[in-house]
């Protein structure tokens, strides 16, 4: 695909790697915030090629991983209703709630459907006027405009049988929370490129200044990631802590004004519980009171659902870079991709899942 393939070129990657090696004189701990970047790093083996001193810490930027257990349980309760068609992005279907996952609800008779876009769910709602159609609106700032637009359209077109189960999470408060953590080891951030495509970079200078960390807005292809790392290392080596944009083809400083206006109309800021991490103040969006009637949580009265995570799971520390997955006692034992205890073992981007596949080769290679 144009503008993907060019940014995967091995020769240019070699040049960037040489620059990173050349620039690195000391160990540095960098966090890529975004799960998509984690995926790219592991899939292309980028971390194996970095200088030994550069440690990539996988951040909490996988929406599948951080969507709260309670939210999953609410989704499961709604999806199990016979009157509901529950629509979701594909990767949410295997995320375990307290007792099961959406695949389990589906296998027990729930009408659970995978869609590519929330607009597909709206189409399903129009095609099934006698059913309630609920879309599972999770994700970061990147996904929020799509969900916002869908609810806006539902109201505009009078599609009363549509509603949204909303659990959006926000990146800047998470970065602040990570840096506030007493055991925090992160020295710089690769910021999530597509979040910034929507939101711009305006929130980052204050964070960079407050925590004295470089923040480099980074894309997703191998060259993008290498360039993000390169710029970060250069700043760290030079003792700087600035905000930079290494993904200018898709990110403008001002973000996307149309999307941001829609977000302001449809959502309002709320405290949000991140799975494995806990509640971060002001780190989420929920439907604003103007759209309350489209809120599935109220329509199906699941506001009372409460859930507790497995006491074994250390996903919170993993997500904050305080612990490697294989430093969790349950890793590979009680907890595998087939029997995940924490969401980080569920998604292909989840740090624990990535380590599970990855470690196997390490073990073989070192045995």
């Amino acid at each position: 695909m144009k503008y993907l393939d060019e940014f995967s070129d091995p020769d240019l990657a070699g040049k960037l790697l040489a620059q990173i090696h050349a620039a690195t004189t000391r160990p540095w701990a960098l966090m890529e915030v975004c799960g998509g970047q984690t995926h790219s790093i592991i899939r292309h083996g980028i971390d194996q090629l970095l200088p030994d001193g550069i440690e990539m810490i996988h951040g909490p930027g996988c929406p599948v991983c951080v969507t709260g257990l309670e939210t999953i349980d609410k989704a499961l309760a709604i999806a199990a209703r016979p009157d509901v068609i529950f629509c979701s992005f594909g990767d949410m279907l295997r995320v375990p709630g307290s007792a099961q996952d959406l695949f389990g609800v589906k296998s027990a008779g729930g009408d659970v459907r995978v869609v590519y876009s929330p607009l597909d769910a709206l189409t399903i709602a129009r095609q099934n006027p006698d059913r309630q159609v609920v879309f599972f609106g999770i994700g970061f700032e990147t996904t929020a405009p799509a969900n916002a637009m869908t609810v806006y359209q539902a109201r505009r077109l009078g599609i009363g049988n549509f509603s949204l189960l909303v659990s959006h999470v926000l990146v800047p408060p998470a970065i602040a929370a990570i840096m506030e953590s007493p055991r925090c080891r992160v020295q710089a951030f690769l910021a999530a490129g597509h979040v910034c495509s929507v939101m711009g970079t305006g929130e980052y200078p204050a964070l960079a200044a407050r925590y004295r960390v470089p923040i480099v807005v980074t894309g997703f292809e191998p060259l993008d990631i290498l360039e993000g790392i390169r710029q970060t290392v250069v700043q760290l080596e030079a003792g700087r802590h600035e905000v930079a944009n290494a993904y200018p083809r898709a990110v403008r400083d001002e973000g996307n004004p149309a999307a941001m206006a829609m977000l302001r109309d449809v959502f309002e800021v709320t405290d949000r519980t991140w799975r494995g991490i806990g509640t971060i103040p002001g780190s989420g969006w929920r439907l604003s009171s103007r759209y309350r009637e489209f809120d599935a949580e109220h329509r199906f009265d699941v506001t009372g659902v409460r859930a507790a995570e497995s006491p074994l799971c250390r996903a919170g520390e993993v997500l904050q870079g305080l612990r490697k997955p294989n430093q969790c006692a349950a890793f590979g034992k009680q907890c595998t991709p087939r029997t995940p205890l924490g969401a980080t073992m569920v998604s292909a981007e989840g740090a624990c899942a990535a380590y599970y596949a990855y470690r196997r080769l390490d073990l073989v290679a070192t045995s």
Partner: protein, 94 residues
């Protein structure tokens, strides 16, 4: 988070009062909502996530970035004199 890919707008149409486009992703085509990129037209590139264009793809910037990658290691602007030595070490590492 947020798998988003660049695609080229093939055509634009208004559907139910919403600006929609057929977008080409190198042979794969999908209908995409253009409401967030109101001034993008046919032939331009957009970054698409879950059926929505979330940003125009700046082709000039893309070309510049690639050119910058090509230049890197030739120019030495950022590291000043220390660069050549460091680059040599990095090569030995691999």
């Amino acid at each position: 988070m947020c798998l988003a890919v660049p695609g080229r707008v093939l055509s634009v149409a208004e559907v139910d009062g919403t600006r929609m486009a057929e977008v080409d992703f190198g042979g794969v085509r999908k209908d995409v909502c253009l409401e967030f990129v109101p001034d993008v037209g046919v032939g331009e590139y957009v970054v698409v996530h879950v059926g929505f264009a979330i940003q125009r793809l700046d082709e000039a910037s893309a070309r510049e970035t690639l050119a910058h990658f090509e230049r890197i290691g030739i120019l030495d602007e950022e590291f000043g004199g220390g660069f050549t030595r460091l680059a040599g070490q990095a090569g030995a590492d691999r």
